[in-house]
Symmetry: C2
Subunit: 408 residues, 2 copies
Amino acid sequence: MFKPNEDYLKLPGSYLFSTIAKKVNAFQQANPEKNIIRLGIGDVTQPLPPAVIKALHKAVDEQADPATFRGYAPDLGYEFLRHAMAENDFRKRGCDIADDEIFISDGAKSDSGNIQEIFSRDSKIAVCDPVYPVYVDSNVMSGRCGDYDKETGIWSNVIYMPSTAENNFSPELPKEVPDIIYLCFPNNPTGTAITKDRLQDWVDYANKNGSVIIFDAAYEAYISEDNVPHSIFECEGARTCAIELRSFSKNAGFTGLRLAATIIPHDLKVKYQGSEVEMHSLWARRHGTKYNGAPYIVQRAGEACYSSEGQAQIKEMVAGYMKNASYILEGLKEAGYTVYGGVNSPYVWLKTKDNMTSWEFFDYLLENAGVVGTPGSGFGPSGEHYFRLTAFGSYESSVEALNRIKKL
Amino acid sequence: MFKPNEDYLKLPGSYLFSTIAKKVNAFQQANPEKNIIRLGIGDVTQPLPPAVIKALHKAVDEQADPATFRGYAPDLGYEFLRHAMAENDFRKRGCDIADDEIFISDGAKSDSGNIQEIFSRDSKIAVCDPVYPVYVDSNVMSGRCGDYDKETGIWSNVIYMPSTAENNFSPELPKEVPDIIYLCFPNNPTGTAITKDRLQDWVDYANKNGSVIIFDAAYEAYISEDNVPHSIFECEGARTCAIELRSFSKNAGFTGLRLAATIIPHDLKVKYQGSEVEMHSLWARRHGTKYNGAPYIVQRAGEACYSSEGQAQIKEMVAGYMKNASYILEGLKEAGYTVYGGVNSPYVWLKTKDNMTSWEFFDYLLENAGVVGTPGSGFGPSGEHYFRLTAFGSYESSVEALNRIKKL
C-alpha cells in the first residue's frame, strides 16, 4: 500500500499568509464599507519596467518564427543571461564569479526550497529567528528538523539564532556548529541589514567549522548604505563556504514573471570517500534531472534588466518603494513606535503598542485603522511582539495608512 | 562539516543526451562538410501557434500597466487556466475532474521529478523498461532505488517491467506489488500506445493492491486511434489510485515556454495514524512551500490553447509532425526495418539492423547517413537492440533522412 511522506504531515496546518487572508476577508465581509490597505504580503505593485516589456515583446515575436524559435533552454540557463548577471552583479563589484557558476531558475522560493536537497539527510540547519518560513519548512519536509512543539513553535532539531532589538538584529555565531546556515540580508522579515565586517565573521566561522552558508540576497537592490554588502562573495573566503540566492522579484518586479538564480562556486567542495565533490555538480544534476530551464522569453526579460535603460528604470522603481519605506518609518516614529529596518530594505519592523502580542496588534490595526500587516510571531518565536509593514504599496496608500495609524 | 546527499552520488555520471551531443560534435568536427540531420531529442521545431503568440503579447501589455499588473500567481495556478483545462481535457471527455484538482506548473519534467516527494521514503517503484530516465533518477536521488549495477544498468530496488516486441510493448502486471507505478502512454520512448481495456486492468490492479499510478499523458495529443485513452481518468476507479501528468510541450510547442499540470483527485487518499490523508493536500503543500506559480503571461498562453482558434492551430501542428512520423515509419519499412510506434505518437521505435547493439547502430547511422537518433539501451536494458527516431524535425529533413537511410 502506498504511503504518504510522513515528514510532510509534521508541518503545522495553516500557512501564515492564508490565516491573514482569512481574517482580512472575514473583516471585509463584516465591514463592506471599509477601505482596507494591505501592507502585509511582500508582493510588488508597480508594473514591469518598459525595457523589460520591450524585451518580452521582441522575444515573443522570435517564438513565432521558425527561423528564431527556441525550444528547450539549456538546463542551467542561457549564456546571455548568466554572463550579464556574472558581469554586472558580481565581477563589477569585485566578486570573483564565473558565468558557469550561475544557475538560472524560476524563482528564489523554488531555489531556497530545493537547495537543501543536495546536502546529506542528517544535516543540521541553523536559521535566524524570526525567519522566512521556506528555509525551515523545506527541511522539515526532508526529515531534518525533528519534532514540532505547538506551544513554542520550535522544531527540536533546528538551531535557532534569535534576531532581536537586544542584539541589534545581528545574531550571535552559534555555539553548536550547524552544517547549513541560512542567512538573509537585507533581512526578511526584520528589514535590517548586515555590515560587511560582520558578514566576514560569518564567512570565517563557516570556513573554520566546515559549515555552508546559504545566503539569500533577494533584497540587495534596496541597500542604501555603503558598508552593507550586496553579495556574500564580497567577503574573503566565501567561495569555499557559500551559496548565494538571487531574485529578479523585488528589484525588477518579476514576482509574476518568475526568474532567479543560484550561485555555487566551483570551490565549494566536500570530501567524500577519499575524493573531492563539488556541490556545483550536485546542483547541476538536480537541474538536469528535475528541471527544464526558465522560459526563453523570461530569460530575455532578465537580460534587459542589465541594459542601461533597464538599470535606470529599476533604480527608479526601487527609489519609489524606498520613498514609501521612509514615509512609513518616519510616520511610525511620529506616532510613538519603536521601529527598525526600512533603510536598506522595503520592510519596516516595529515593536507592537503596549506590549500587545503580534496577533493582538494585527487585530487592533485591522479593526481600528483598516491596515493589514504581518504579525512578527508568524516568522518565529523571537518575532513575538513585533510586526512587519511593507513598502510595496503605492505612495498614496502608504500615506493614507500612516495617517490612519497616527490618528489611533 | 557539511556533507553531500550521498544518493545523488550514486547516479551514473553521464546523461544519455549529453553523451549523444558529444559524439555528434566530435563527428561534425571531423567531417565539417557533412549536413547532420538530428532526429534524436524530443524537442519541437515548429514556432508557437498564432493564438498563443497573440495571448502572450496581450498579457505582456497587461504587465506594463499598473491597473492590470499581476504579481505573485496563485500557487496552484490561475482559475482561468485550471477551469479551461478541466473542462476541455477532462469533463468534455467524460472524466470527472474538478478545477481544483488541477495544479499548474512549469513543466512535466519538474512534476515527474518532484511527485515522488509526497510519498514515503521507503516506497518501492515500478517502471517500464525502457523508460524516460527522470522517473528512476528522481527516486535514486531520494534514496529509494538501492544500488546500481554498471554492467546491467539495473537498480537493485526497482521493479522493472520489460516492454518489448515479445509482449507487444504492453508490460505484464507486476507479481511483486509496487507502491508506485510509473506509466507513460502513448509511450516515450517506444511510441506505442495502450488500449482503454488494458489501462483499465492497471487501474483495477492498483486499486486492488493499494498501489498508486503516476500516469504521464504528455503525448496524448498524438493519439489517432479510437480505443486509446487520452487520460487515465477515462478508466473506472482511477480517481482512487491515479495521478496524471499533463504537458503543453509536445502538443502546443511549449518546450521553451514551460507549462504543465498535475491532476490529483481528492479521492486519492491513504490511511495514516487512524485518519485519512488526501495526497492532494501534500502536493498543495509542496507547491505552497517550494514553488511560486507559473508566469501569468505563460498561463494566459496556456488558456489560448483552448480557444477554437488555438485548438485548430494545435491540431494542424500535430498533424504536421504526424505526417513526418508516418513518412519515417513507412520509409523504414521499405528499407527493411522492423518498426513500432509512430501511429499514436511522434516517436518511431525500430529494431537495429543485423542485431547491432543500440550504440553500434547509433554510430553506423551517424557515420554512414549523417542521421542522429537515440540508442534504445539509453532508456533501459530492454531497449537494447532498439533505436528511437523522432518526428519533430521538419518534413524536408525527415524525407532527406529516410532517403539517406534507404540508400545504405
